[in-house]
């Protein structure tokens, strides 16, 4: 094995490979930072180029683009409240308040450090735990998946901000919107126009909900003092701040790895999941949502922790979990490599080269992130009245470029208005988004489970994995109810005292 590893190291440590990775990561960071342009798009656009590159170089390029864009999304999430990719939506919650307080640089550094650590842990897991994690992922059938989704929906309690009721309302709206389009049996719901038959895209909904309300607010209320630019105060991340978040970073990375290994879940859910856990366990839990560095760390470590792990089901089983790994599967096939157990027998040299190459990506990510975030941070100095129209233009073009579809642009604009109304009513946007993302997985797996059992609810309690997630769900709901009750009692006691 050591000989093979050494040989693989020699094979991968070539200039073209390093150039491909550096270019991929840097390109990915920039594409990820531009609202509307996503990692999926970057990887799809790069696919034809890989026809002409050696297999390992091609895959490294695609992986680098994926990782870069997952991190890059956090830059715009923090600086302009516009998550560049869906997985950075959770970073907005604390990242943007930090930027408003003049700590944008600090937040960017925290995002970068936690992304790199998440990325590294993910890569190590890919190296050592690919097979056991893949076997675990395979056991997650529709009933287990459903229970996991039920548990994930309890995240709503952690991201609702001040009012749980408003958070639940927001999540219900998100679930409702997720039903638009074709269901898994091929019947159409709320398909008013031909375009609506295929449902609403996550990216237009996400950007409409997060980025546009700020702009509309400025148009409607015309605040006088908004010409001032955000200050860029202390940018350095102190050792104490890092130490305070290190637990959340490690936990976030592990959450990212486990959720990443299960096909279809993806980095956005992992980020919200990790954020929710961090908020529950942190001693600063109450300050989450108002500009807490630990929140940024939890979210960013988890979404990058996912990246390496999504390769696990692809390489070990030949099952891509999302569109990006789907494109990678295509790239493998074009080069005559077939992911799956046979890959480890027939092409172990390539597999080792790939693993070693991917390990380097964390370093490249750190350098590219440092350079890019530094440049992008200057955006904060642009006055809002100039910046927001530019963001709108970027969003509209970015969304249009995904599928050249005017319908996506109208979804973006309508969701902007919906987001603005929600903002006025103090309804938080994050529960809406997470429910919108989880909704289809929740529904599809419930219906699949019931199809398999032919309507028998017992199917949800057949395996220990289901039981485990069920127990966690119940526990989490109980804890939330207790917390809410304590809050309510305290409040009523206070009002009684003051009266």
């Amino acid at each position: 094995m050591w000989n093979e590893l050494l040989y693989a190291f020699e094979a991968v440590a070539t200039l073209p490979n390093f150039i491909a990775m550096a270019a991929g990561i840097w390109g990915g960071v920039i594409i990820g930072a531009i609202p509307g342009m996503t990692g999926t798009m970057a990887v799809t656009l790069a696919l034809p180029f890989t026809f002409y590159l050696p297999p390992v170089t091609s895959i490294l390029l695609l992986v680098a683009l994926y990782k870069g864009s997952t991190y890059g999304g956090s830059i715009s999430a923090i600086l302009i409240k516009t998550p560049g990719t869906a997985s950075a939506a959770c970073t907005v919650l604390d990242g943007y308040p930090l930027a408003q307080q003049g700590k944008g640089g600090k937040a960017l550094n925290m995002a970068l450090v936690s992304s790199c650590i998440g990325d590294f842990i993910s890569n190590i897991s890919l190296f050592f735990l690919a097979m056991p994690l893949a076997m675990f992922a395979l056991r997650v059938g529709p009933p287990e998946y459903f229970m996991l989704m039920a548990f994930s929906l309890t995240i709503v309690a952690s991201i609702s901000g001040r009012s749980l009721v408003l958070g639940i309302i927001s999540a219900c709206l998100g679930l409702l919107l997720a039903t638009v389009g074709e269901d898994i049996y091929g019947s159409f719901r709320f398909a008013v126009t031909e375009d609506m038959k295929s449902g609403l895209g996550v990216v237009p909904v996400l950007i409409g909900l997060f980025a546009l309300p700020e702009l509309i607010k400025m148009i409607v209320f015309r605040p006088e003092d908004n010409n001032a630019a955000m200050k860029l105060g202390d940018n350095r991340l102190t050792m104490a701040e890092f130490r305070g978040s290190v637990k959340s970073i490690l936990r976030g990375s592990v959450i990212g790895v486990i959720l990443g290994a299960i096909p279809g879940i993806g980095p956005s859910t992992a980020a919200f999941f990790s954020y929710s856990e961090a908020r529950r366990t942190s001693k600063n839990g109450d300050k989450f949502g108002e500009g807490e560095l630990e929140g940024v760390a939890a979210s960013e470590s988890a979404n990058n922790g996912c990246c390496g792990a999504t390769m696990i089901p692809l390489l070990a089983l030949g099952v891509p979990g999302d569109v990006i790994t789907g494109v990678m599967l295509g790239a493998f096939m074009i080069h005559g490599l077939t992911p799956g157990p046979l890959l480890f027998q027939n092409n172990i040299g390539e597999v080792y080269s790939l693993f070693i190459g991917i390990l380097f990506s964390s370093v490249f990510l750190f350098v590219a992130g440092k350079l890019t975030a530094g440049a992008f941070a200057k955006i904060s100095r642009i006055p809002q009245t100039l910046l927001l129209p530019c963001i709108l233009v970027l969003c509209v073009f970015g969304i249009y470029s995904i599928g050249a579809s005017p319908f996506d642009v109208s979804v973006l604009l309508v969701m902007g208005i919906v987001g603005f109304v929600m903002m006025i009513l103090n309804i938080p946007a994050a529960p809406f988004l997470i429910a919108f993302i989880l909704g289809p997985m929740f529904e599809d797996n419930m219906r699949r489970s019931l199809a398999i059992s032919r309507g028998d609810l017992g199917v949800f309690f057949h395996s220990w994995i289901s039981w485990a997630f069920f127990a966690l769900t119940v526990l989490f709901i109980a804890l939330t109810i207790r917390r809410e009750w304590q809050k309510w009692r305290e409040k009523s006691r206070n009002t009684a005292q003051s009266a």
Partner: protein, 329 residues
């Protein structure tokens, strides 16, 4: 608002078209700019790979003009198909069509695009479908599978993209051939996409499935799945011992086959059709094209059939099945 915009755009396009008709009519130098090839399904899937392989090969014969692949997904591929039929028939927007383009209008009477709303340029490849079970299953033949389905009273499960998708019809056709009720003899569990379908069988969450070979071959080669039958005109080179549906005497199932084709908007000028016939005849013998097709697990059939007649026969086949199964009256 967009409808009005679209109307305005159509009008502008019409004006443009009348003025440029003269120049396109004598378009001996077609193509003069990049050609867009719309793939109506997601990146990385079988159709996407076919589209990208065609784009890479065809560019050698298109006056150095690139063929750019664009994925326009949704609604069973109909979004992409509809987009292409709404474009100007100038040869600069083409569709990588799949069996879905004939199947969808055959099953849905309100299909946004009819099966013959195109100019048919050519059939590209045949992509066989495979009936498979998990390697741990004790089922070794199609007969054993059918016996189990019959005795289990509807409790067996199979994975498919949907009841009216091609991979649902593969199973339903087989059930109909075996005189079982195609809709209730076995329970359909819907999944999205070839790899999710394959994972469902791999994890033992369903009993069997019959989907495109490209998604199954890696698992069959790795010994994780067992192929029982092939839906194709002839046996697959990679699976010489697995019989075809036709050999086993299944009439409906024997006619089911996956394919990719190249379509253009209706009323494409004759000379551009001729140019594409020419390009495709070059592609047919191109080593890169043949090599990529083999790697995808498909068989190149460029130029073998009259495309219009073939698509018509496919439409009629699935329309007949949809009536027989009770999806339409």
């Amino acid at each position: 608002m967009f409808r009005q915009l679209k109307k305005a755009a159509t009008f502008a396009a019409a004006v443009l078209a009348t003025t440029t008709l003269v120049s396109t009519a004598q378009a001996a130098d077609y193509p003069e700019k990049a050609i867009t090839l719309v793939v109506p399904y997601g990146a990385g899937g079988a159709s996407d790979l076919a589209g990208r392989a065609l784009a890479e090969t065809a560019r050698n014969y298109t006056n150095e003009q690139p063929v750019v692949v664009v994925n326009k997904t949704g609604n069973g591929g109909m979004n992409g198909a509809r987009y292409v039929t709404e474009q100007k028939p100038d040869g600069y927007t083409l569709l990588l069509s799949r069996v879905g383009m004939a199947l969808y209008p055959a099953v849905y009477t309100d299909s946004p695009v009819a099966w013959d709303d195109y100019t048919f340029l050519g059939i590209l490849e045949s992509t066989p479908m495979i009936l498979a079970v998990n390697a741990n299953s004790d089922i070794k033949t199609v007969e054993e599978l059918l016996a189990k389905i019959k005795s289990s009273n509807g409790a067996t499960t199979y994975a498919a993209s949907g009841p009216t998708a091609i991979d649902g019809f593969t199973v339903q056709a087989l059930l109909a051939d075996a005189d079982l009720d195609p809709l209730s003899a076995s329970t359909l569990v819907p999944y999205k996409g070839g790899s999710a379908l394959a994972a469902a069988l791999l994890g033992g969450h369903v009993d069997f499935l019959a989907i495109a070979a490209g998604s199954l071959m890696p698992h069959i080669e790795a010994g994780k799945m067992r192929a029982l039958m092939v839906y194709a005109p002839k046996r697959m080179d990679a699976l010489p011992d697995v019989p075809t549906a036709k050999e086993l005497g299944y009439n409906l199932a024997g006619q089911v086959d996956g394919w990719s084709a190249l379509f253009a908007p209706k009323d494409l000028p004759e000379d551009i059709v001729a140019k594409w016939k020419d390009i495709l005849s070059n592609v047919a013998t191109n080593d890169q094209w043949l090599d990529l097709a083999k790697k995808r697990g498909s068989v190149s059939v460029v130029g073998d059939q009259d495309p219009a007649a073939f698509v018509k026969s496919q439409y009629e086949l699935y329309n007949g099945m949809a009536k027989k199964f009770g999806y339409i009256q």
